[in-house]
Symmetry: D2
Subunit: 383 residues, 4 copies
């Protein structure tokens, strides 16, 4: 992470125009640690959307593109051209840009899954990037500090030899046939844009990647039952899979978009002959760790970790401040920015003010006074 | 929040040199939404620390100061001077900079509590800021989307007339007398730097601010019992307070730095004659809402909220993606940045790679094939 | 507990006629371990209710009384008279029967609180029971295995010197003025029958007894704020208390009958200079135990405990079978009894049958077959 | 349940001698509601164990048997013979007694699974019981009030058409090869006594029965992967199964005896096209119910239920008192019984006493006084 004198990296983006979800997520992620500056983009193939989206992000007009190939070529030619690019298009549009930028010698950060088809994936893997361009696939759940600690624990032998792995990712947002109205839903349920898999490609791969990342087990074979429950849906919306791993471990994977009551219930449970681990994304700051015959322990993000491991985890705030603490903090900053710009009337009452500060001091002093006086009820207006 | 074409605000910082916790938090918060650029700082009163810290943050040398008063004067005089400043010094060092920058017409973002003494607080409140400079006190817990929704719910009457408020903030980090070794602990337990209160000023005010923010109740009086449990400690490390509010509601507030097993257990519970609310910071994405006589409901961040309210909450990712999702995402970006810069060898194995992407596709295809073949065990190496 | 060849104790009951809650609870409690036979009762002062209630419980007509004094006299005179009596009347009716039976040399099991007034309590304590009659006050929460383990942990020094105790018992059933319609509510909110306290006597004493039982701390003084929120209610329905214990520990106690969303949220948290404990009644099978600087541990009922302590805890089923397991089991037995008696038509479909048993075997065999055949989908109708 | 004037049913038991777990559970279950009297038993095939066990349970010597066939014959011939019998032997010993007692016209309560082999199960089902003798298989988890409410909810259509069912039962007690030392483990891991299945027969059937009971879905086929992880173990200790139900619903079932950190983690999750349900045995008093598009609701045992359904659930104590409340209560009764019998010295300090009662009153009065005096700290010794 930056704050150590490192220069910021010049970043571009393909996809992610106004209203896109995952493009926005990538941009925020690029800003948090101060490592990147977004300076160019092919944010949409529609010129008007590309231009408006780019200007909203503060891009110079000559670095707003509508075609990724043109962008790769132009940026590679500039002295101040982008060094890296984020690809945040639908699955079937990953291959083209990834190939173009890697061949232009520009580092690629690509949303998952890698491509829409296995053929494309293998072709992409066979490309020789120019000038040593590197590649990152954003299986973002592997970035949680406790997920990395889980991996460390398994690698350290704390669980012994792994026997059983239970991974799941239930959601409910596709319970009904809302596909037509919903931009997020429409491409995800369209075989032409998503590829051969529905739920399995969208969220099953997340659960799969997570179990692979944490356990390091190599998958030997799968036995699967993929179902489409919603009438008319072409791709699976529920995935049941049994897994066999090299070395004899067994697993199950469940992914569903029709499990009513679940938002993003990604969960991983790993059991070895000495210990077990359980982690859920909906409270990513806690993880259960059990040693056979002892009480369960609740590990928290940022607790005692050895040196090297700690570095890899990028724990930004101390244990007990949940992930999210920074976002709450950022909301104050952002809404105050609107107020400074004269555009934050809606937040005027919400943001803590000087008066709140004075009253806070009155509360402290009144409490101290009351305590000194044997708990006498003390008015804040007295102090 | 930015991404709407707004210009970034030029930001300075007082305090927050290398190694400081809350200064770092303020900087991350300023970056997340892309609303600020940090361009100046008096990060330490020690010249060498100030210079090194400033350079690490990419500040130009002529905008690295060691004295806040000089900084206020110099920045106010520049055409490209800072428009806002973050004050992240210990409590007793809030008053001076806040006064200086407000009088210089520069917006102030100040960490809590406002000052170390009530006198300072009242003096500060009496200042007339130049050029309409505005003031933000970072009671950061009020920035959580569900805390804001709680406030909306109370204001909407969903809880009826409020009767009982239970606020608490247990920690355990000062259980032992570790004060001398610990920079965070040392000023917090020193009356000269923290003011009259220990736990009450450090965390009691957070709990108090939170209950005030959510309920809107005005405090009439307190009856308090402040204790120092650790031998030799001069300030309170455990706070018991009963509260009476205008209109008859009653409350309790507990803050402790010696409650073993608690990291940052900030919790608020509010009960009216129609309903109740319960929220805990350690899982800030969930909140209980109960209507009398009906089952409890678990509200999640980003669930159904009416228009204006939603805007105030700044929900960055959809329901089910916990706060923290963005940070995990950012970790991938940040560590990939180190790899790009040639300084990320430690992360090389951790970041999802092209090979991971190909294997993910193999997993999808093998699963689809297995499912088409009546669940036949299908090897990933077959597809 | 019985099952060791011990003779059953002959038991009587005062109060607890048809429809009474706590009388029923006492009777079930007396049966679970097979230590008592209920053989006499003054279940109501109304002769018809007393007779019907007694017959429903299988009492002989000559041992159904309407007057406790007469019952005490008559039973003491019988060779097969009761050896113990349960007193399950409203608070103001505890003193009379307790005195009468103790003076008749009959052991007394009395619901809490002891009496309606402190004067009565002290008078009762001053009585010299005949023939060594013993007395039990049913502060039932002290019977939970984990509560007893908590006491052992404190006594063992595992928490170090106790500093802070937080006890609470929130309910919501008296949120509205339903007093007139509700038998349970009516006497509890009537000063003539409940005594000087409302919530404090009904549930505050439970929380208080629990903290005393677990910590062994002796209370020095209290500072209290008792409130009646519901218009017209004469007794407190919300209790805020700060506590000071001998030796310097401090505590808070909150009891409420108007905390919407809480059913019986009894909770105890104890913190010493080495460790902390947290237990909630709504999941009585789990308890948090924290040692300073280590991860929280989740203790479960019936986990590893040393010899003597284990005996005192009366753990009936192994760890992991929650308390309640026995009740679910009992429901099958009881409803099958109704079927045997020809009175269980309503349950016929609910109880597991021979056919369920056969299908269970089909499921096992089909699964074994499928597994042997490389996971081939195997019909239950095939095996 | 009894307490309604019904005569108690005379009960016998086969198996369940001193030290047996499930026999003890059956006996407690038979006592809780007062529906049965245990009067005969073939508690062991070893005469000395049978006699000692029988006497400990208060059986008359002439009703203590060592052979179930003899017992069935003798009891059927007595005027006061048993009306029902509980069979609590290992799986392979269910068939003989069940047949004998049914043919003797005695009702049978049989532990699960029905038998050790499918052949035996079918033979048993084909028997024609004499005198209308009835049969109960103790799939005890179906007796939980919330499990029955779950069934009602599914039947009512509240979940819509069921799509996905996830059942699991993880344990960890067979993680190591402790089989030889452990009576419970030895027969469960022995094919001769348990039948074809290990974990699948012992706990898999529980999970399976639970899903069948709640959903009413009929199983079409299974695809299974059964594994023995512990070296030398002959039966499966981990079970992965995919299920297909008539009508198109799909399911997964996981049962494991090697999932470190899990005690008895029975869990059922059911999702339809309108709603979802989630229940866990380790907190059996709570159940999640979700309607699509609305916040999750936490149902509690004994909450609002319509008439007939409520009756079937046998809710013994009001909502908020967890199952287990009765057991804690019973512990006080049972240990007081020991004290009465002069055998309870170990509990003398544990049971709430007269002095506790007086102090409880002092606490109430001191609190009331303090509250009347503006929260003045009031000593318990003052009142």
């Amino acid at each position: 992470m930056a704050e150590n004198g490192s220069r910021r990296i010049r970043l571009g983006m393909v996809g992610g125009g106004t209203g896109a979800f995952i493009g926005y997520v990538h941009r925020v992620a690029s800003r948090i640690d101060g490592d990147y500056d977004l300076v160019a983009g092919a944010l949409s193939s529609r010129p008007d959307v590309a231009m408006e989206s780019g200007r909203n992000l503060g891009l110079a007009d000559d670095r707003i593109y509508t075609d990724y190939a043109e962008m790769a070529k132009a940026e590679a030619a500039r002295a101040d051209g982008i060094e890296a690019v984020s690809i945040v298009t639908p699955n079937h549009m990953h291959f083209g840009p990834a190939k173009a930028f890697l061949e232009a010698g520009i580092h690629v950060i690509c949303d998952k899954p890698l491509t829409a088809t296995l053929e494309d994936a293998r072709k992409l893997a066979a490309i020789k990037p120019a000038r040593g361009a590197k590649f990152l696939l954003t299986h973002n759940y592997t970035g949680y500090p406790l997920v990395r600690q889980a991996r460390e624990l398994v690698a350290s032998g704390a669980l012994g030899k792994i026997r059983v792995v239970q991974a799941e990712y239930p959601q409910d947002w596709l319970t009904e046939a809302a596909d037509a109205d919903n931009k997020q839903a429409s491409w995800r349920t369209d075989p032409n844009r998503s590829g051969a898999g529905g739920a399995i490609g969208d969220i099953g791969t997340h659960a799969y990647n997570l179990l692979r990342f944490v356990t390091g087990l190599k998958t030997e074979a799968v036995a699967a039952d993929l179902t489409s429950f919603v009438p008319g849906r072409q791709l699976d919306d529920n995935v049941h899979i049994m897994l066999r791993f090299d070395g004899g471990a067994r697993g199950m994977l469940w992914a569903s978009q029709v499990a009513v009551g679940n938002e993003n219930g990604l969960q991983l449970r790993v059991y070895g002959d000495k210990g077990g681990l359980e982690w859920r994304q909906d409270n990513p700051n806690q993880m259960w760790f059990s040693e056979f015959g002892k009480p369960r322990q609740l590990l928290t993000r940022g607790g005692a970790i050895s040196g090297d491991a700690a570095a890899s985890m990028n724990v930004r705030v101390p244990a007990g401040h949940p992930e999210g603490y920074l976002e709450a903090f950022a909301t104050l900053y952002s809404q105050f920015a609107d107020i400074i710009r004269g555009d934050g009337a809606a937040y005027a009452d919400l943001l803590p003010s000087m008066a709140d500060g004075v009253e806070g001091m009155e509360f402290i002093i009144a409490s101290v006074e009351s305590s000194k006086n044997e708990g006498r009820w003390t008015k804040l207006s007295e102090v």
